[in-house]
Symmetry: C2
Subunit: 121 residues, 2 copies
């Protein structure tokens, strides 16, 4: 639903940088303590431009995620809301996949896939 689009639910934090037929690229910024409201992501590659400490919640679970700047992770299609639980602002770029790449939301997906978490050297 359009109402689940994070650029609609949290326009102060999510900005569309550009999009084409294959991807939509978002910029996300916040400050410590910022909380988002429920929204949905398609399959997404998230690239951290800053360190990132975040508690993500869904209707059924919560997960704490810490990443360093310069990391790329796979965020499988999911609905969630989150909070910056760190001491510094967050800045990330999200590459949302479209078409066949967008994926189907799994109710059990929450946060990035840890087996894909990898710090850039």
């Amino acid at each position: 639903m359009i109402d689940d689009d994070p650029t609609v639910t949290n326009p102060d934090n999510y900005t569309i940088l550009w999009e084409n037929e294959f991807v939509r690229v978002l910029d996300y910024v916040d400050v410590p303590g910022t909380q988002t409201v429920p929204h949905r992501h398609p399959n997404t590659v998230m690239v951290t431009l800053t360190d990132f400490s975040r508690r993500l919640r869904s209707d059924r679970a919560a997960v704490d995620t810490q990443m360093t700047a310069g990391t790329a992770v796979w965020l499988p299609a999911q609905s969630h809301w989150g909070e910056n639980t760190g001491l510094t602002p967050t800045h990330v770029i999200l590459v949302e996949l479209k078409r066949g790449g967008a994926g189907d939301e799994s109710p059990t997906s929450l946060g990035p896939e840890t087996n894909h978490r990898s710090s850039a050297a």
Copy 2:
């Protein structure tokens, strides 16, 4: 061809961070003066972790590209080689699209699509 894969042609610069059925994510690093040899990219979203000054060449053209850190651009499928023409090391993350998203190489594509170039605020 496997021989056109930048992780094969320039293994000191390109590293596979991870991949799944939809994307392959590469880390690229170099220093001023580094030159790559010809290689091929599928459709790719490139995210700059540092400022980026680069001369890209193909058999028929050359283009100079400057980007600031925290920028995301669309690199349409293309073969090229490049040189760090800046005064600082380069560090970028490349999100390569697979399957229907990989695209067909156009011989006239060289460098990022400038209409998609957008600096993160």
